[in-house]
Amino acid sequence: MSVDQLISSLTIFVLAILVGFEVISKVPATLHTPLMSGANSIHGIVLVGAMLIAAIADNPLSIFLSVLAVAFAAMNVVGGYLVTDRMLEMFKKRPAAPRGAPKPEA
């Protein structure tokens, strides 16, 4: 990795951290579990890296490591998004639900 590459990668890294703080600090506590689960699926992006090493796996050890990496990452991605969606599906508004008037019966 050249110095230029390193600096531009570090720039991306630092800015992405700051974006993460800004985007996430506004989420209400109610959504923290889905958020944790949703963020958990995003780091499944390592699947891209796993496939790229699979593309150059030319010896038994590399083949073993990359198939394991692809499987692990795929489980993280697919499972993560599906379980987050299942959680969030439950938050959808129900038509019959009375709105939050303080004293409905008074």
Binding site: Q5, I45, S62, A69, F72, G79, Y81, V83, M87
Partner: protein, 475 residues
């Protein structure tokens, strides 16, 4: 425009989808769309990568490229899809922890493979920056892998939830840390030797276990959140190792989010993250507990009958339900919702008071109650509901303990002093449903239980609620 350039643009779009997706998760109304947007970005990045490999626009010297990718995607994706669809909502935290372990493991494997390949060429093939990233990736990814599996095991009850005191305790961790530092320094400054990396890997895997084992089961949410942030960081490091910006961006995003979540959760318990990791508290065996025990002797406990409780609830105007960990364990969320709906039919105003750390993860209680079709507007967060308790005729505490203990406000000697609590003791009457008089995970007695306004209903939350429902119906 070449395919390579096009896919790079797709990666940028994917990164934008992740950021916007997380942003949409700010609000319950848009959260689901946010997650779907993030999934679309992920699908685009994965498909783009497959296209790049198919077109040979990246290095494709592998001998079994497609079998590896297909087998990995089918096996891993299938296992993920199956477990995500079939898991019970109460067991969801441990599943998230397992997925997290997979991500951390994959990140470590990517760096290990790159390292072994480079070391095969010579001990100085990689630049210093890559070696540093590899060391961080392997250490963080491996600690996350075993740590998350132990955390999931503790939540599932496979590994004991009580803190396990290691024979030599901190000494083991100190030795592990010394080996890790020596190995890391060797790899960075002396040369890239596979055996040294294997030593580093082994030490990190063991450290994941010794780090999480001594922590009590009730602290697992904070630990999982911390490990989630770790995985993000490990993935970002993997991005440095293989020089892939989309891994860096997504990993850094998750590292930041996990960090914030962890801090929020620890704050809600009035504890520092360091305090949790070092352990000791939440074990029910510390000296502070014995000292706080002095406050117990004071009052006696009043036991209620189910019929008394049913009458109190039915003739109340305002009822606040305080669900806690015990409700989650008893899987009593549906029974709770049924009782609340029944009371609402009789003209009782029912609200739910949700402590930020109720359940097993922040927001977990909301998910459980949403699953039981509790209308979202009935769920009140701590700051909003606390002023309401003094207007409430009855507060119904279902398996919540430490988050209702007034000692957090009144007793500076209590280990939970200063922790934000729900002001349940301000309600006119308090009904506590609880398995036994066993103290909560903080290991201290709850002053609420000896309050003259409090009546106790002992039993499994689900059984007691079922009895309450038939008693209310009979009135």
């Amino acid at each position: 425009m070449s395919l390579d350039t096009f896919i790079r643009l797709v990666y940028i779009i994917a990164a934008a989808c992740f950021v916007m997706g997380l942003h949409l998760m700010n609000s319950p109304a848009t959260a689901r769309r946010g997650n779907q947007l993030s999934a679309v970005g992920m699908a685009a990045a994965v498909l783009g990568t497959i296209l790049l490999i198919a077109a040979g626009d990246v290095s494709t010297t592998g001998t079994l490229i497609w079998p590896i990718i297909v087998v990995g995607l089918v096996v891993g994706g299938g296992a993920g899809a199956y477990t995500a669809r079939t898991v019970k909502m109460t067991a969801m935290p441990q599943l998230v922890s397992i997925f997290n372990a997979m991500g951390g493991g994959a990140a470590a494997l990517v760096a290990i493979d790159e390292f072994v390949r480079a070391a095969g060429i010579g001990p100085h093939t990689l630049g210093t920056a890559e070696v540093v990233a590899t060391v961080l990736d392997v250490v963080i990814g491996s600690v996350t892998f075993t740590g998350s599996l132990i955390a999931a095991g503790k939540l599932q009850g496979i590994v004991t939830g009580t803190p396990v005191k290691l024979p030599a305790g901190q000494a083991i961790n100190v030795v592990l840390a010394i080996i890790a530092v020596v190995a890391a320094v060797y790899l960075i400054f002396v040369g890239q030797v596979v055996l040294v990396l294997v030593a580093l890997l082994a030490v990190a895997l063991v450290f994941g276990v010794t780090m999480v084992l001594p922590i009590g089961g009730a602290d697992m949410p904070v630990v999982i959140s911390l490990l989630n942030a770790f995985t993000g960081t490990a993935v970002a490091m993997a991005g440095f190792v293989i020089d892939d910006p989309v891994l860096i961006i997504a990993g850094a995003l998750v590292g930041a989010s996990g960090g914030i979540l962890t801090k929020l959760m620890a704050d809600a318990m009035n504890r520092s993250i360091l305090n949790i990791i070092v352990g000791g508290f939440g074990t029910g065996d510390s000296g502070a507990v014995a000292a706080a025990g002095g406050a117990t002797g004071g009052g006696s406990v009043r036991e209620l009958t189910v019929d008394d409780a049913a009458i109190q609830l039915t003739y109340a105007q305002h009822v606040i339900v305080v669900p806690g960990y015990g409700l989650a364990v008893a899987q009593a969320q549906h029974a709770t919702a049924e009782l609340a709906a029944l009371l609402e039919e009789r003209g009782v105003d029912v609200k739910y008071a949700i402590h930020p750390v109720a359940g097993r993860m922040p927001g977990h209680m909301n998910v459980l109650l949403a699953e039981a079709n509790v209308p979202y507007p009935q769920l009140w967060e701590m700051e909003d509901i606390n002023p309401e308790f003094q207007r409430a005729d009855v507060a119904l505490v279902l398996g919540a303990n430490d988050v209702t203990n007034p000692a957090a406000r009144s007793d500076p000697s209590s280990p939970i002093y200063g922790m934000p609590i729900l002001d349940v003791d301000k309600a006119a009457n308090i009904i506590v449903v609880k398995r036994s008089m066993r103290p909560g995970y903080a290991g201290i007695d709850n002053l609420l239980y000896t309050d003259p306004k409090t009546g106790m209903l002992f039993g499994d939350a689900k059984d007691v609620l079922t009895q309450l429902i038939s008693a209310v119906k009979a009135l």
